[in-house]
Amino acid sequence: MKVESEVKGDVIVIRVEGDVDLYSSPELRTAVLKAVPRASAGVEVDLGQVTYMDSSGVATLVEGLRSANEHEVRFTLSEPSESVMKVLELARLDSVFEVRRS
């Protein structure tokens, strides 16, 4: 898995690539929880290149959303891949996140 963060205007974009699982999700968690307090308007997690996501990845996104709500910034998932949507649907969390598709 590869995680890259970039400041784009008032939004911090976190780009994730590869498999998000028990081994790799702590790195994503660190990036998300670091970005939220620093973002002035929002955090966008780009999941277009995610080839696999398990429940630890979902839990990381849940933590990110909760933290963003506390900090009163937006938390958006952009371009979620099919594997991401599948695990969110199975976890019954697909309607909880704000999803952006271009």
């Binding site: 398990d54 429940s55 839990a59 849940v62 959303l65 709500n69 199975l90 976890a91 019954r92 909880v96």
Partner: protein, 154 residues
């Protein structure tokens, strides 16, 4: 005589091996054309969750323990057993179901793994492993459970 389509794996409890386990489970289903393409990803996910639970909860993150997988299939059923020799799963976990969450206020991170397994497989049984620890038996009726909402139980 070996079980038809039988495969056994003994894997050390290092999460770096999860990607490899997923690949093996996927190749096993491909080799025997066991479930339809759409469901293969869900089966891989559920098995990954069972292995992750063993590594994270039963072994508390220790990477030098053993996780055993037994994969088998008959005409009617696909059966996958994941066992460990770690700390037994607390009884309250066994009853945990996935809530229907519609608002961020209801969200709780974690505790999703077993719920996901139940969404994918027709039967999820947790018992004591052969040498203590936990044993998760996942059974899927071939051509059964239809779709991701988990409503199609047979």
């Amino acid at each position: 005589m070996a079980d038809p389509a039988g495969l056994r794996l003994e894997v050390c409890s290092d999460p770096r091996l999860l990607g490899l386990i997923r690949g093996v489970v996927r190749s096993w289903m491909d080799a025997f054309d066991l479930v339809d393409e759409k469901r293969r990803h869900e089966v891989v996910l559920a098995v990954d969750e069972a292995c992750s639970n063993a590594m994270r909860h039963a072994y508390g993150g220790r990477c030098d323990e053993t996780v055993d997988l037994a994969l088998g299939a008959s005409d009617e059923w696909l059966e996958i057993t994941v066992s460990d020799r770690g700390r037994p799963c607390p009884p309250e976990c066994l009853r945990r179901e996935l809530p229907r969450v519609t608002s961020a206020d209801d969200l709780r991170p974690g505790g999703l793994g077993l719920g996901l397994m139940r969404q994918v497989f027709d039967e999820v049984r947790l018992c004591s492993g052969p040498e203590g620890g936990n044993c998760v038996v996942l059974r899927l009726r071939r051509g059964g459970k239809d779709g991701v909402d988990g409503e199609g139980r047979v």
